[in-house]
Amino acid sequence: MLTIKNLHASIGEKPILKGLDLSIKAGEVHAIMGPNGSGKSTLAQVLAGRENFHVDQGEASWLGQDLLAMPIEERARSGLFLAFQYPIEIPGVSNAYFLKAAVNAVRRHQGLSELDAMDFIKRVKSEMKAVGMREEFLYRSVNEGFSGGEKKRNEVLQMALLEPKLAILDETDSGLDIDALKAVADGVNRLRSPERALLVITHYQRLLDYIVPDFVHVLAGGRIVRSGGRELALELEERGYGWIESGDSAQAGAAA
């Protein structure tokens, strides 16, 4: 589904990703862990097409296409979804309007007919129930005045509605209390399917108790320095990132 080879990316003059390799197949759940500043969020942003970052070299093949050559909205429409670490507020634009515009943009791309207001509302209401959002959030401005937990639920709601092929969750657990974390994780787990892959980016292993990954990668210094199964996350939890960073980097780049 997604194959990243030797990806180098920088912001301004500062290199952040320095030769990252990663391969994700349909149905897999990958977790990327790493210390602050290791490039986790940069990876998410580069994959989604954020312009602030410059790709210096490397390639990324997405569903047989050159991901890095695709415009932002084309990536989104083809099924790449990013759940933002800090969801953005758009004053004056109702959540309902925003969600409907997004759903229909994706549907048009897939050659499906656009949902009309009635069908859309029916659909969105049932999904909201599932992520535990009250209906009033449909009529409030996008993320404006939402609490941290409400914003993250709103991200999961969007993900559920857009039915992506690959969902990247960028520190979705940050700033959440345990109840909100569970709710969000439940929402994500419902979307797990053999056709859909997840890339879960997190600093703490806590989230991985709820969204259990198939593969865990440790990102440090802009490269994947270690890969393993679920147990790698637990080991990290116990020994800290210092263990990896000071350790040998023989496995660097040995992505799943």
């Binding site: 909205e73 990536r75 989104a76 990013l82 969801p87 004056g92 634009v93 925003f98 943009a105």
Partner: protein
């Protein structure tokens, strides 16, 4: 990699759609301004003597006035001798009595502009007065309106057919010597719309005037007067366009509104004068005085404006709250792009007791444009219990534009409650990225964000025009990011 910037730049293709020129024979007087010009103009319009005297008084006063320079706009001095003060499409008769007599070329022009001059047209609930250069060429639905006592006609006709009303109210809100451009307008105004809603009548349809400047080197000086008697109400809308020309053209209008006891006037403007090209060449100078007076108790005047056009916009729709418990409102969206300059805002003068006013202004600047909000809230000593709320938000698109806010508050009564809020924000690249990551195109994302920003104002517009305003906004901001 395609970016939001590229996307929007490539979208620049669409042009100023109303920018075409109508080929029509005109009756035009020579350039220049003098007492003779005014006499000629007045004679052409067969005006009664009082009108000519009124004009000449205004002209003599105007000669003594200096050109105002306080606005934050920059343009070379206007040569008032280089302007044509009267240009009218030639017609077989003096004034067409019905639509059938209107030159088909003119009807086609309005059709092309999407203005319904056929009474069974799409916007059947709207009566239109069409002003072409210096004259009104058609007014629709007059018969239906007359049945309920509403007078809706061109200003020239009002001067002839309703001289008493004109004499009583003309200049009663904006006196001829009010300011430089109002004085000029009073001297040379050529046409405009006249609306009179008698006591207790709710005007059964939206009234609207569509101003079109066509002839080259011509200034448009129109005069609008709307009177709502006790308990009457009316909703009125004006629209404006002009061809694309390299020379600047002057538009100096005066609008006066009078609301008696319990009357309501809602005045909406969608201003789309030619703004000049992307290098700032050409465009309309829009120097307009708009003022309403809540003369009666519990009366209400509401201005809603969407300003997307003109090279320079200079106008401050105002309300004088003379009647007790009267209400004044101003809702504005002003968009500037490329080299446009807008200095706009509102004045609320509280004189009666328990008067209330609201000012909501949304300024959007893009390109190298400058967008100024100027507000004055004045509470006179006798205005017990006056309240004002002002909110003034600026949205910047790109890094070369400017937004300024100059609010002034003069409260001479200690019971006054005045609130002012102002914000300035930039269309976030993060907002764009967020929306595009959900599959929206860059242009849809910008339009969505801007419309969200303007929502409080758009909801004040009549339905049909809210949609038009949103579309207009989309066109005005094309190519604005980068």
């Amino acid at each position: 990699m395609s970016t939001a910037t590229d996307k929007i730049d490539s979208y620049l293709g669409r042009e100023y759609a109303p920018g075409f020129i109508t080929e029509i024979e005109s009756d035009t007087i020579p350039k220049g301004l003098s007492e003779d010009t005014i006499r000629l103009l007045s004679a052409k319009k067969n005006e009664p003597e009082f009108m000519l005297e009124w004009r000449l008084d205004a002209y003599r006063h105007w000669l003594t006035m200096p050109t105002p320079e306080w606005a934050k706009v920059d343009f070379p001095p206007v040569d008032f001798q280089d302007i044509i003060y009267y240009s009218a499409p030639k017609s077989k008769k003096d004034a067409p009595k019905s639509l059938d007599e209107v030159d088909p070329e003119l009807l086609r022009t309005y059709e092309k502009l999407g203005v319904p001059l056929h009474e069974r047209a799409r916007l059947a609930g709207v009566a239109v007065d069409a002003v072409f250069d210096s004259v009104s060429v058609a007014t629709t639905f007059r018969k239906q309106l007359a049945e309920v006592g509403v007078i809706f006609c061109s200003f020239s006709e009002a001067v002839k057919d309703h001289p008493d009303l004109v004499r009583k109210y003309l200049g009663s809100v904006v006196p001829p010597g009010d300011n430089f451009y109002a004085a000029l307008n009073s001297a040379v105004f050529s046409d405009g719309s006249f609306v009179f809603i008698p006591k207790g009548v709710r005007c059964p349809m939206e009234l609207s005037t569509y101003f079109r400047i066509n002839a080259q080197d011509t200034g448009q000086f129109e005069r609008t007067l709307i009177i709502a008697e006790e308990g009457a109400s009316v909703s009125y809308l004006e629209g404006c366009t002009a061809p694309m020309r390299d020379e600047n053209q002057l538009h100096a209008a005066v609008v006066e509104l009078v609301a008696l006891d319990d009357a309501k006037i809602k005045y909406s403007t969608v201003q789309n004068w030619y703004p000049g090209d992307k290098d700032g060449k050409g465009g309309i100078y829009n120097f307009v005085t708009k003022r309403g007076e809540c003369r009666g108790a519990r009366s209400r005047i509401s201005w809603t404006q969407v300003e997307t056009g003109s090279a320079i916009t200079w106008k401050y729709p105002s309300v004088v709250l003379r009647g007790d418990d009267s209400v004044g409102e101003f809702y504005s969206v002003a968009v500037t792009n490329n080299y446009q300059q807008a200095d706009t805002g509102s004045k609320m003068t509280h004189m009666g007791r328990n008067t209330r006013s609201t000012i909501i202004s949304k300024g959007i600047s893009a390109g190298r444009s400058s967008n100024v909000f100027r507000g004055l809230v004045r509470v006179t000593p006798k205005a017990e219990g006056a309240r004002n709320y002002t909110q003034c938000d600026s949205l910047l698109i790109g890094k070369k534009c400017a937004a300024h806010t100059f609010p002034t508050i003069e409260a001479q009564n200690p019971s006054a409650q005045i609130e002012h809020e102002a914000t300035t924000s930039r269309i976030g690249e993060d907002q764009l990225f967020y929306a595009m990551q959900r599959g929206l195109s860059a242009e849809d994302a910008v339009s969505m964000i801007v419309n969200g920003f303007c929502k409080e104002v758009f909801k004040e517009l009549p339905m049909e025009f809210a949609v038009e305003a949103q579309n207009l906004l989309g066109v005005s901001l094309e190519g604005s990011i980068g």
